[in-house]
């Protein structure tokens, strides 16, 4: 199973060596590697008895690095792989992205994301976190326009601040326990002084959520989404942001907390989640720019995930399901917005009659993300609400339906604009690779929606 981590790295090396090839060949190599990855992951998911532990260099886990393939980890790996494949396919329609550098960055990103999910070592996690972040900065700045550079610089500053906070948190644990393995370190860290624990948690939460873009640390996020290329947006919203939440979850689940500390942490995360939902949705209502609207919607969705992550197994299942559901639905929205030539709501009036596929894709994505029943986002939100109600949290449980109502307002504005019966002057990009990517994403949305009960069982059973 280790090969699934290494394969993207090897592919990146191969592409780096074979610069002479043309773009179709790079694409074929990358997609073949990802396909092999998915097949191996699916095969081992079915055959092996999970979770599987790998000790790097046969060192004991107190000394060496441990990789753990859990049920939920493999589900995330599969979804990341598919998302990267779709993003690469879509990127084929951008001439300026089709350079070896881009493939190299994306495959490295896949490698570091995969390692991040499976690693059990805190410092290792930080290293992969920084690798992914640096790649994300590079990908955002890739388009080489003034806005991109500015957005990337903002991203660098805020991302590094978040990284420093996380690093300080890890150092606090290391100096107090002498361990870097998450399970060992957190077990021993429970004996540390309460002030130390408190500082550790504050640093960890603020650092991770800064990189994840929760309110009030979200300011960099809309700029990124405004300026970066569409495939990069899909990767950053689908993978990089979600990984920070997974970090938080991993450390939280390994920690042994007393009741007072647990309640306090829950209150902090719940507050951040509720504020994110309300602020994200309300700000999205104000937006005229389609991508900025999607960015604020992402902020709100992070709120849902943060709320769900720490309450009960049911809510946690919902949060995990929401991570996957949101990846594909938001991807669909970004892809369709990328194809529609206009940037603002008024630009895309009546565009549905010029080109059907992006309009249909946007409609599916919007309806799905609002949380209308057959889609997986409904199942996830439903689970989160049920989990919250199980722990008698009535107020946050009411915020979730309220968020749904708010999101309908702004998605409906766009939908009524897209399907308005008017002649449009905006040109729509038509590209068979982009269309193929959109159809694949719609397929994945359907698959995740159909498999939502199965995923729920995997997350519940594997946790």
């Amino acid at each position: 199973m280790l090969i699934t981590i290494l394969l993207p790295l090897i592919t990146a090396l191969i592409i780096g060596l074979l610069i002479k090839l043309n773009k179709n060949q790079w694409l074929t190599i990358s997609l073949a590697a990802i396909l092999a990855n998915i097949i191996i992951l699916l095969y081992s998911f079915v055959t092996e008895s999970l979770p599987v532990l790998y000790r790097m260099g046969q060192w004991d886990s107190a000394l060496g690095i441990t990789l753990e393939f859990t049920h939920w980890g493999i589900v995330f790996l599969i979804s990341f792989n598919i998302l990267v494949a779709i993003a690469l396919l879509y990127a084929r329609s951008y001439e300026n992205l089709m350079r070896p550098k881009f493939f190299l960055f994306v495959m490295m990103l896949l490698f570091s994301a995969s390692s991040w999910v499976v690693t059990q070592d805190m410092f290792n996690m930080y290293v992969f976190l920084e690798i992914s972040s640096v790649l994300a900065y590079a990908l955002v700045a890739y388009k080489d326009s003034k806005f991109c550079i500015e957005a990337a610089l903002k991203y660098v500053f805020t991302g590094t601040t978040g990284g420093v906070l996380i690093l300080s948190a890890i150092l606090i644990v290391y100096f107090n326990t002498g361990h870097l393995n998450i399970n060992l370190a957190m077990a021993e860290f429970a004996n540390a002084e309460i002030t130390t624990q408190l500082i550790f948690w504050a640093l960890m939460i603020v650092g991770s959520l800064t990189k994840a873009g929760a309110v009030p640390m979200h300011f960099w996020l809309p700029d990124i989404y405004m300026s970066a290329a569409t495939p990069v947006n899909v990767l950053s919203s689908g993978i990089i942001i979600k990984l920070n939440i997974i970090t938080l979850y991993k450390i939280f689940s390994a920690a042994q907390l007393n009741d007072a500390l647990l309640n306090t942490l829950n209150t902090v995360l719940l507050t951040i989640g509720v504020i994110s939902i309300l602020w994200g949705h309300l700000t999205a209502i104000r937006q005229k720019d389609l991508r900025r609207m999607l960015a604020y919607s992402s902020v709100a969705q992070i709120g849902y995930i943060v709320i769900g992550l720490f309450y009960s197994p049911l809510a946690l299942t919902g949060a995990f399901l929401h991570i996957i559901a949101h990846s594909f639905l938001k991807g669909l929205l970004f892809f369709s917005v990328g194809l529609m030539g206009g940037r603002s709501i008024s630009d895309v009036r009546g565009i549905a009659y010029k080109s059907k596929l992006p309009a249909i894709a946007y409609t599916i994505g919007a309806i799905g993300l609002i949380g209308i029943p057959p889609f997986s986002a409904f199942s996830s939100k439903w689970l989160i609400v049920r989990g919250l109600l199980q722990s008698q949290m009535l107020l946050p449980a009411l915020v979730l339906p309220l968020g749904t109502v708010l999101s309908i307002i702004y998605y409906l504005k766009v939908l009524s604009s897209i399907w308005a019966r008017e002649e449009t002057v905006t040109t729509v990009k038509k590209d068979k690779f982009a269309h193929a990517a959109i159809i694949l994403t719609i397929f994945m949305v359907a698959v995740t929606s159909a498999l939502a009960p199965m995923l729920q069982n995997i997350f519940l059973g594997g946790l």
Partner: protein, 522 residues
Amino acid sequence: MEIIILMLIILSLALFDLKFNKPLTSLVAATVMVAATVLIKPGTTFIVPFMESALFTFNSNALEFLRIIAILYFVLIPSSFEYYDGKKTNFYTLATFLLFAMLGVAVSNTWYGMMTFWEMITIIGFLLVFPSNKEVARNYLIIQLIGAGLLLFAMTRTIGITGSHYLSEVPKELYMLFLISMGFKFGIAGVHFWLPEAHGSAAAPASALLSGIMVKIGLFGIYKVGVINYRPFLIFGFIMIFWGGFRAIIEKDVKRILAFSTISQMGLGTVLFASGVDELFSVFMVFVIHHGFAKVSLFLLAGFFETCAGSRNIEELRGIGYYHPEIRWLSVVLTASMAGIPLTYGCLAKTLVKTAIYSFEANALMLASGIFSIAYMGRLVYYFWGSKNSKEPKGRFCFPLPLRINGIILIVLATLPFWGLHLTTLPATRACVYNIPSLIEAVMSMLVASVLIYIEVRYPLDGINHFLYDKYKGFEVFIGNCGDKIGCALQKLHTGKVNDYILAILVSLAAVLIFMWSQLLL
């Protein structure tokens, strides 16, 4: 399996309509529905393998309800030909989809499925209003979605308490929540303000569909989840009866009068559900037939007035009966039935409701409600038959056959013995309805109502009317702009400077630290 086949047929007809938008398809769908309710045995279920209980259940209540709804389509759809003659519309498509969604709500056996179809109905309602008035349609959608959020919350609570995804007995403490959240669909007291706006501004056949058919699903939903036999509902019911009746008496716009009368009649339905008598469903069905037939026809009539006279104001429609003698008897029959004058079907329905809640000793209130309904309906007749207006209305006055037949049906249903649609199980006999005391009561009510009409005509309450209307407008603007305003205030914080971003991160770090410190160490 029959249920799935029926659903697929109706859905495919609706999808076919999506492309062609033919009235015939809606009629075929209604015919299929009627045939299915006759052919399919009550108690048929559809069970998916690996599921513990049935996904869809076709019980006898759902069957009767759907049959009546489908029969109402035969009045509505042919009457809309003339109205939509040559106009661009998607009315027939939406009507067919509504039939499908109502079938779904009626047969769903899971909370999840019911919610899905419930939302579908909301979207259909939005699309029906949207072509006529976008602002009202948007507010309608927002209000309905708040209701849906509450309903989802109530369902989740129920699932949490009972532990089952299948429809099961609702805990007593959630009764009120269910009533209010489902009441968003039929304008329960407190959230009724969208109803006159939406029903008043849609096109006439769309209004008829909304007011005559769609509101019934709200009441049916309450019956289906079993939120009945609960006395506090009486308060809601009576508030709706009297507020709706009062507003209907002072309004000037024909369609708004009819919409407020819908609120009043839905109050009657709520009162009925508060009682929880044994034959509740049969009485409810009589009520649905009474209100459905009369309200659909009245809204269509209002639509024809609008096209021929170019106005909906009853002052300007004054004496229109003289130019169109055909509508004299029809308007009298329809309004009389709506008001519950003896010898009409409406009287039967009202008497049955009255008998049902007899034990609550609310007879004085019921009597007053009868007077109100006679007053607002009698006022319509007074204006249609009033002194001859100087202007002759322009435009062709079309008067389709189904409406005439409908008038006959209402008389026939009321006068013949209780055979026909389903009414064999009712214990109440004609003797119970038409006895001497009740006739005296009716005559007295009519006298009092005519006094009310006289007072309103002599001293019009325009001031109150305008005041209430402005109040509503203010509320509407408030709902529309609330989100925008809050968003605007937050927007100012996004300055776009990196320093601010990092400052925000550090401030939030400090805030989290201080909060945790105060929680744990103080």
